[in-house]
């Protein structure tokens, strides 16, 4: 289906990544947002609070991030598309409810505008230190989807996609901005509503007695209903059977949790998104996501001017990780250079996938600013020499 034109501000805008995220959410059909103020994400909810009264939405500033991250799930079962927005310390508080959304298969969006941590860290300055937390932060096993925009335009586009993926796979989706992308102001083109594709909720409409809230389709995703539709559903974070009833057995646990992992893993090819630049014949591949994809460009260009064959692989979807792409590349390139605003998180994933068949070099940065492109250039040069 297409976006509801009432919420779509079609045309060119000069806005930052946080505001673009807000517009993406409204275009995607989000009409419930719960949040708690935290730098550098607050601009998203400030704009939501301003815009929602005119598009039929409800914004509520909750008492903390824990409340925000579960209020959105109540709203989803009440029939809304919903999201919450935060930064590192708040993201830490939301971990339990990412798990609840995964376990109860509640489609919703969590936005994390990353700042430098741990703890309060550097509240107004960038980092990418929450990438492994995004993958593994809640306890137990589950699959997850995480997207990393590198511009305000992409913040708009990927917010729409985050909502669509959440509905398609009945899963929480994480939108992992960083402070730079959140506060960077650029031109953003909002397309006409009829050019924005929206994935509707997979609502079941058959007989009540035939309905099973957790009986999956072929793609491993079950359809759902809303509270008040007359199905008398039961939703629990306890391990449950296809009816949604608690089932305290190892067999029920195995069945449920395997499907939670498999529904992302088996659909990974449809979810994954990465951009390649001169990968064919490359000797070195620079792997980036978010803001590092932009700070790496001068380094890559300089190395290319010197005749080094450097490819650039930018992860747009970080989780699920494009394992196959890396496995295939590992046999053809000398090595990977991974600049990150953390001290080595996605680098570990690259290492796991290339399994020793190519060198992997981290250009780590603890956060607080972006990389000096020269450091990335030096890492490329070093890898060529070694």
């Amino acid at each position: 289906m297409k976006a509801d034109s009432r919420g779509v501000l079609t045309g060119p805008h000069f806005i930052d990544g946080d505001h673009a995220c807000c517009e993406g959410a409204i275009a995607a059909g989000c009409r419930f947002v719960a949040g708690y103020p935290i730098t550098p994400s607050t601009e998203v909810v400030e704009r939501i609070a301003q815009r929602f009264p005119f598009v039929g939405g409800i914004f509520i500033q909750m008492e903390d991030e824990i409340a925000s991250s579960i209020a959105i799930q109540g709203a989803v079962w009440g029939g809304k598309k919903a999201m919450t927005v935060t930064s590192g310390p708040g993201f830490s508080l939301m971990m339990e409810h990412i798990g609840y959304a995964a376990m109860t298969e509640t489609p919703c969006v969590f936005v994390d505008v990353q700042r430098a941590g741990p703890s309060t860290g550097l509240p107004t300055q960038p980092a990418q230190g929450d990438m492994m937390q995004a993958r593994w932060g809640s306890h137990g096993d589950y699959g997850i989807i995480a997207l990393c925009p590198n511009s305000p335009q992409e913040s708009f586009d990927l917010t729409v996609r985050a909502f669509n993926l959440a509905e398609q796979y009945r899963t929480p989706v994480l939108l992992m901005l960083d402070e730079c992308v959140g506060h960077m102001t650029e031109r953003v083109i909002v397309p006409p509503a009829d050019q924005i594709e929206i994935t509707p909720r997979r609502l079941y409409a058959g007989a009540r007695e035939d309905f099973l809230l957790y009986h999956p389709g072929e793609d491993l995703v079950p359809s759902m209903v809303r509270a008040g539709d007359g199905y008398r559903i039961h939703v629990t974070g306890l391990t449950h059977d296809d009816r949604g009833y608690p089932a305290m057995t190892t067999a029920a646990q195995d069945k449920k949790v395997r499907r939670l992992v498999d529904k992302i893993r088996r659909n990974a090819n449809a979810i994954t998104d990465y951009r390649e630049d001169q990968i064919g014949g490359a000797e070195i591949v620079v792997v980036t996501y978010g803001i590092t994809s932009r700070t790496a460009v001068p380094a890559i260009e300089r190395a290319r001017q010197e005749g080094i064959k450097v490819g650039h692989l930018r992860l747009v979807v970080v989780w699920p990780f494009p394992e196959i792409a890396f496995r295939e590349l590992a046999g053809t390139v000398k090595g990977f250079v991974v600049p990150e605003l953390n001290l080595g998180q996605i680098k570990l994933e690259v290492e796991r996938c290339v399994a020793g068949k190519a060198a992997v070099s981290l250009v780590g940065h603890a956060g607080g600013s972006v990389h000096d492109p020269h450091d990335i250039y030096l890492a490329i040069k070093k890898m060529v020499k070694d």
Binding site: E63, G74, K80, A227, H234
Partner: protein, 292 residues
Amino acid sequence: MAEDVFETETESLPVNPVESYLRMDRMPHIWCPGCGIGTTVNCFAQALDGSDLDLDKVAIVSGIGCTGRVAGYLNLDSFHTTHGRAIPFATGLKLANPDLKVVVYSGDGDLTAIGGNHFIHAARRNVDMTVILVNNFVYGMTGGQVAPTTPLTATASTAPYGNFEQSFNLPYLAESCGAVYVARWTAYHVRHLAKAMKEAFKKKGFSFIEVLAPCPTLYSRRNKLGDGLDQMKYFKEQSEIKHGADTKTIALEFQGKIILGKFVDRERQTYLDTMNEYYSKHLGAAYTPYAG
């Protein structure tokens, strides 16, 4: 032949009228013999039975713990959420679909310790929901640990020499935060309780009922108070019904006098009505009142 006899006998048995409100395919429940939670659920079913609510539009939300299991046994749209977070979940549910009657049904530890912050803010905002809090004075599910409701000097597994912390006076807390309906009953006072639940369903805004209930396994036993029946006798003998009592004066003491009744019944505009009125006034015709 034997089957025929059995079927005939089954058909002649009267059906318990509360059965249609329960998920009978989930019985037996997990609660201990003598526990008061099941009694309160019986009252809840009777309150639903006597109300004019469309049951397809009633949603029940629980947190974690013994009382947290209530949602799973009721034949309604039911949500068993995370520990302490039933109220913010219910807030989202109610605001998303204002046609629903949303009831939060959970325990004292869940709603006033880990969930205490949400409790006071939902009451302050006057989100339209009924909160039924079963207070058994301890954390039952995890083995009888001290709670914010454990009376002074009562022992608990994590207060082995007696509790020295001041406990909450929950009706006073609810009233001071803005609840429009506040009552306290016990699992002994089943008719009063069912009636209070029915009254609370009719209130627009944040309504709150504290229900004292025996936990024979983990509270009475450790405190040498006998079994569930003994605790019911205590509720019967030491209770005094004082409607309209000043909530400041009704704090509970270890095995002391219990003041019961309806303490608060007032009108206050709900969160949604306030939002709609405020925005209509300040934003004018550009604002279409939100109706879900």
